[in-house]
Symmetry: C2
Subunit: 421 residues, 2 copies
């Protein structure tokens, strides 16, 4: 018999990859990939991943819920449950979001996915082809940009300022596309407690954005991963809510409110669009055991009480980080107070050299998300933005008692990176 060479896969991988695989290159390994938490050696104080504080993880409650579900529901929890996912959890989502989004929702408006990452992927696979034109924000969550880019569509970026997506710049992009005879098919936006900037899209901008998207027939994907983690006044109504669900697909997740390790998120959309996304997935749905466990845990007001608790915690943690920054870093960086979410976005003073900052931060024992990673979408049309002038600090994961020391280390790294010029 002939036999393939021991390095047969080299040929396959150099000549046989799909265009989609070639586009994405290597696997995502940034914040939130599971690679960002160092578990051996002397770990730095990590302001990296958008991950809940481990003390908030409802371990006992989830253990009780999983046991209840298995003992009470047995086979129902351990057999195929369909691609859309357990109806009881979708009904719970409908009940939870109907008053918030002031729109009558039912379980038919939801589909359950492997986190909001899979929700975005599923929507993209349902609607996008190569060469479609998609607008995204810059900066943005790089995992999302990677998924959108993998479809082979043309991705153009619009910048985010202190009130969220700059809608003037968005309108300019729409008009530029129109002049070229091209249609913008889709906008991907994170209007609430934006990742990485922490900004929130103002109500006035939401109205203008919906108006523009309606006139230009642009579908909006509204990524609301962080919207429930609020510290101050209520958020402006969601885009989904303002549009009564027309022309908006919202994606959400339990990753930030309960646990990233549940890997459970959802698509919220008109039922006809939900059905189209279901037709364009092939995984036969998520585990009913997992989904029923989440529904059991979330029921009876437990989820809402939990979210109230964690918001109080993250508000405190944000305050500790802001106090430290004001005390030690105000000459070396500037920032905006986020009204919710997990992140503070620092703009470095001109004196701070970015490469040195990374080096000194490692030496001092503090980790953060480097700005350049969040500008994957490329030029956002405001030439003033230099990615290496920014770092993202997550105040969510690090223990409350360690934040001040982490900021102290960051301050030393900033000082050294400024002095070394």
């Amino acid at each position: 018999l002939p036999e393939r060479a021991a390095n047969w896969e080299e040929e396959l991988l150099t000549q046989g990859l799909s265009r989609r695989a070639l586009r994405v290159g290597v696997a995502y390994a940034g914040p939130g990939s599971g690679n960002d938490i160092q578990r051996s050696g002397t770990p730095p104080i990590a302001f990296t991943g958008g991950i809940p504080d481990p003390i908030t993880l409802p371990i006992e409650e989830l253990a009780a819920a999983s046991e209840t579900v298995l003992r009470r529901e047995g086979a129902l929890a351990l057999e195929y449950g369909g691609a859309q996912g357990f109806a009881g959890l979708r009904d719970w989502l409908a009940g939870h979001w109907t008053p918030i989004d002031r729109t009558p929702l039912t379980g038919a408006n939801f589909s359950l996915t492997v986190g909001s990452a899979h929700a975005l992927e599923n929507v993209c696979e349902t609607l996008l082809d190569e060469d479609d034109l998609v607008l995204v924000e810059s900066p943005s969550f790089p995992g999302s940009i990677r998924a959108i880019r993998s479809m082979g569509c043309r991705v153009e970026a619009v910048y985010v300022d202190q009130d969220g997506l700059n809608v003037d710049a968005f309108e300019e992009r729409l008009r530029a596309a129109e002049r070229e005879g091209r249609r913008v098919k889709l906008l991907y936006t994170i209007p609430n407690y934006h990742n990485p900037t922490g900004t929130t899209l103002s109500l006035e901008r939401r109205h203008r954005l919906l108006d523009l998207c309606e006139r230009h027939n642009v579908l909006i994907i509204e990524d609301d991963a962080y919207g429930e983690i609020g510290f101050e006044a209520a958020l402006p109504q969601s885009l989904y809510s303002l549009a009564a669900g027309r022309g908006v697909v919202k994606i959400g997740t339990f990753s930030k409110t309960i646990a990233t390790g549940l890997r459970t998120g959802w698509i919220q959309a008109a039922p006809a669009l939900i059905n189209a996304t279901l037709a364009t997935r092939f995984d036969m749905g998520l585990s009913p055991f997992l989904l029923r466990t989440i529904a059991e845990y979330a029921s009876g007001g437990r989820f809402e009480a939990h979210v109230e608790d964690i918001c109080a915690l993250y508000r405190r943690k944000r305050g500790i980080m802001l106090d430290g920054l004001r005390e030690r870093c105000s000459q070396l960086a500037s920032w905006q107070e986020p009204q919710g979410g997990f992140f503070l976005w620092l703009e470095l003073a001109d004196a701070v050299d970015y490469a040195r900052l990374r080096l000194y931060a490692e030496e001092e024992g503090v980790a953060f998300g480097g700005g350049p990673g969040f500008f994957a979408a490329g030029d956002a049309g405001n030439g003033a933005i230099e990615p290496s002038r920014f770092v993202r600090l997550a105040f969510s994961y690090t223990a409350e008692a360690e934040i001040t020391e982490g900021v102290r280390r960051l301050a030393r790294a900033l000082e050294r990176a400024a002095q070394s010029e």
Copy 2:
């Protein structure tokens, strides 16, 4: 403000779907979709889905494992675990498959997926483009054909006979492609206890198949969903094993051995190819809670003992079904004794009218998988095959005590469908 029409999504869905979404049409709703088990009204005796007998589901053990994992591992189980999935479960798979596949395997040879359905999808997305030529078996599992077709590649079918894939016909297809100047990129095959026919590819054919695929540079996807459910002599070595992993990707699942509702399967391949599949997924991996629960349950020989138990049960159930068929149906259908798996594939006698059989089966209260659903891949090059001459009977799900009554009902339906000519 202008406002989108209430039926905005109609326009989106008629003019805005991706080519992939347009190809697949509606969602899969066949056996195993979660739609096939009727749970209200007077249920028929169901020989439909390839689903484990509910009495085999290790409910107590999984409840204990999930509790252990959450209490012992806490945050590790509830945080991101990476796209490849919990290393402990991948290591367990390596330990389990190394002796069976007689090939040294490590955790780097595995990636964990949402069942083998997602495994297939992930491999296809990594390797296939529109217009690539893919060969599949006919009949085959329609969910797999649907996923492959969604990539837009040209799918051609090769027929399965009593010894599995007909390798002569496969060779003919390869030569026909060669004459057209086209290369066959990939073969999707179910060599063990084939779905739906129950046949097993002979060792001699495995050697010939590997030889042909090597000479023509065809990658093999070996779907081994049922290989562990064996009743008789050991299976021939896997294609993966015979090829020492070169040019073969194996996909597997816990759906048939533990529970479909775990929605956990895997890709087994060379590490470089595993890495390529990881780069071409966007879901940030499955739930570490779920994967660690499975690893905890499977460890310490529990999985192997469980498989031994279920094989004994399914062997008995197959025997009961065969006894009933021999006693009541031998004039109206013929079949081959499956050596493992969940299915018996009946070829109907000429006298039996298929449409009437479906009608009478419903009246008699028995359900089965209709032949035509398994011929989604189209003409397999053997004109003698008429899809509506076949039905698939799953002996796995229905309670042992009900199988005889189910066959009795089927026999009555067959008799009525034959007499009514």
